[in-house]
């Protein structure tokens, strides 16, 4: 059993409520930070921990925090990104639903470190019922003097509000999220300026993922050095993995970074192997945006070393033979899965979610969807695969925000590793039916 930090108490009855949460050591980091630490000392511990953002990009959290501008007399904000719309990802929902106070605790402690008087949780609209759970937890925290004026008798005051979105993947991108929080369309901003300088209402702002902030209490209680001992190399700590697809035990698992992918897929502790005893065909390891890998390359790197669940190991080999840890949305496909049809669901997704500001993304995602649609419908043409390749190349790197790249990578990787399957579809449309998954 690996170390558990976030889900250690998940099965304690009543852990959703403040009382039980506190009986299990909850809110100790607020006490410790507010009563015995200077804000910068908290930032220092987070730096030492090596914690990297859990929203997908893996940017070092302590470094991000130290970039926050602190002009005199200007508000600063912490905004928690609970948009969680990357296909395959559902860990933040699980955490917020089952143990909401860990997020609230992390927000208070982090806001103290950043000097933010107000913080917001931006949660996707479809998670409405989770927003109610958060509201209830926040209310409990106010009643216990953990939020509001002069928290626990200190000079630090803090308010937290929950903001519900309304269905738009792009609002997970941090500047689109800020636009949305300001009551506008979710159009990503051109950077710079970065949110650390001009974010919410043009004030310095830190945007962090739910899981990132929920990791802070442990770091404050145990010290950054202790946290850095967990995991492997520069992938410190634990990671929540959302596992779905053709596995026996879909769900959210907290892993210590460095668990072998093979163990994660086949052991009873985690996914429990492939559904119906079938063979593994492919895995999308970090949410829909990361490259898909065939079974041999997800289990072992090109050099033949066991692939591990860590930032470095998953990206070993670059995009030629590797992928990314991303948000930890781990989607598993068995031998009967059509990679082409699966890719079509992704292409349709990105086209649907493009905000439309940049032409390569707006038009390119539409073309890719259209071409893939005709291929899966049996009307593919010779040259379609090359055209798809060409389009994704023209999107990548040419857009305001990374959604364009995110739309390009699944297409590029599917063609790179499964080109024959595309050609089979185009040359033998009559065989397409057989490839559909049997329900």
């Amino acid at each position: 059993m690996g170390k558990k930090i976030l889900l250690e108490h998940i099965n304690v009855p009543g852990i959703k409520g403040l009382e039980v949460y506190r009986q299990n050591g909850g809110y100790a980091s607020v006490e410790k930070a507010l009563k015995t630490m200077a804000p910068d000392a908290v930032v220092e511990e987070v730096k030492k921990s090596g914690l990297r953002g859990r929203g997908g990009a893996g940017f070092p959290t302590g470094m991000k925090w130290s970039f926050l501008a602190k002009p005199e007399g200007v508000e600063r904000y912490l905004v928690v990104n609970a948009d969680e719309s990357e296909p395959g990802t559902f860990k933040d929902r699980y955490l917020m639903e089952r143990i909401p106070h860990i997020l609230i605790e992390g927000m208070i402690t982090s806001s103290f470190a950043l000097g933010a008087k107000t913080s917001y949780i931006y949660i996707r609209g479809e998670y409405f019922y989770v927003s109610r759970i958060l509201e209830a937890a926040i209310e409990e925290a106010y009643a216990a003097g953990l939020l509001g004026k002069n928290i626990l008798g200190s000079n630090f005051s803090h308010d937290i509000f929950v903001q519900v979105g309304a269905g738009a993947y792009i609002c997970g991108e941090e500047t689109a999220l800020l636009e949305s929080l300001e009551g506008k369309r979710g159009n990503p901003r051109i950077k710079p300026p970065f949110p650390a300088i001009a974010g919410l209402y043009s004030c310095p702002t830190v945007v962090n993922n739910v899981e990132t902030i929920a990791s802070v209490p442990y770091i404050v209680m145990n010290g950054g050095d202790e946290y850095a001992k967990i995991g492997i190399g520069r992938s410190t700590g634990t990671k929540l993995i959302s596992a779905s697809g053709h596995i026996n035990k879909p769900g959210v698992y907290e892993i210590e970074m460095g668990v072998p992918v093979e163990e994660f897929i086949y052991s009873e502790e985690y996914c429990g192997g492939i559904l119906n005893g079938k063979k593994l065909k492919a895995v999308v390891a970090g949410g829909s945006s990361v490259p898909i890998l065939p079974a041999d390359l997800i289990l072992k790197t090109e050099k033949g070393e066991p692939r591990l669940m860590s930032y470095e190991s998953l990206s070993d080999g670059g995009f030629a033979t590797g992928t990314m840890l991303g948000s930890g949305g781990f989607m598993v496909y068995d031998e009967s899965t059509s990679i082409v049809k699966n890719l079509y669901t992704f292409a349709r997704f990105y086209h649907h979610e493009s905000c439309g500001q940049c032409s390569p993304c707006r038009e390119g995602t539409g073309w890719m969807e259209k071409i893939l649609h005709r291929i899966v419908e049996g009307h593919g043409k010779a040259g379609d695969v090359d055209m798809l390749w060409d389009i994704q190349r023209k999107i990548e790197g040419n857009t305001i925000c990374p959604l364009g790249d995110a739309a390009a990578w699944p297409v590029a990787s599917a063609i790179r590793h499964f080109r024959k399957e595309f050609e089979e579809y185009i040359n033998h449309p009559e065989r397409i039916r057989d490839k559909m998954p049997v329900v």
Partner: protein, 179 residues
């Protein structure tokens, strides 16, 4: 005749409270939450009258409301059934049979995806990943997630909404009691 587009006192107080969550002069931030309330109150969709009303409440231009309402997929700009059945069609749900779920719903309700039953009770819509991939295939009605669907489960669900579920659907979002 449709209901007059006007919140009651209680809802107005709530809108007021919402607007105070943001700094002085930044109350436009309340737009999305208020649109959710308006949609739940006025028939499950946003007519131009409803949007104009929201604009007047927040003291912003109607265009500022339209451009937001048209951007987000949870806002319906045309009428929908009382039970808006949103079936996830993205990868994990697809891999575990969402197409069968849609087909079954279409057969069962006698409508196609995107359509509403004649009695105005059900609309079928396919949507992108709802963050419930571990429970694939899944669908959402109102605030409720229904996971690990089978045709039997879908049938029971439809029966439930037909019988005791008349008030569920969009009002089960129950925005008023939480914000």
């Amino acid at each position: 005749m449709s209901k007059e587009i006007k919140f009651n006192e209680e809802t107005l107080a709530l809108v007021d409270k919402l607007m105070k969550r943001y700094p002085e002069g930044k109350h436009k931030s309340a737009l999305i939450p208020v649109l959710h309330i308006a949609q739940a109150e006025f028939g499950g969709w946003l007519s131009s009258d409803t949007m104009d009303y929201v604009a007047s409440l927040l003291k912003i231009k109607p265009i500022e409301v339209y451009e937001v309402a048209s951007f987000y997929s949870m806002f319906n700009l045309t009428p929908v059934g009382k039970c808006l059945i949103e079936v996830c069609r993205t990868s994990s749900c697809w891999a575990r049979g969402s197409e069968e779920v849609v087909k079954h719903l279409e057969k069962r309700l006698g409508i196609k995806e995107g359509e509403t039953t004649k009695d105005g009770m059900f609309t079928i819509k396919t949507v992108e990943c709802l963050g419930s991939c571990g429970g694939a295939p899944m669908l959402q009605v109102g605030a409720s997630f229904h996971e690990n669907l089978t045709t039997e489960k879908v049938d029971t669900l439809i029966e439930d909404y037909k019988t005791q579920g008349k008030q569920k659907s969009y009002t089960d979002l129950d925005y008023k009691n939480t914000l």
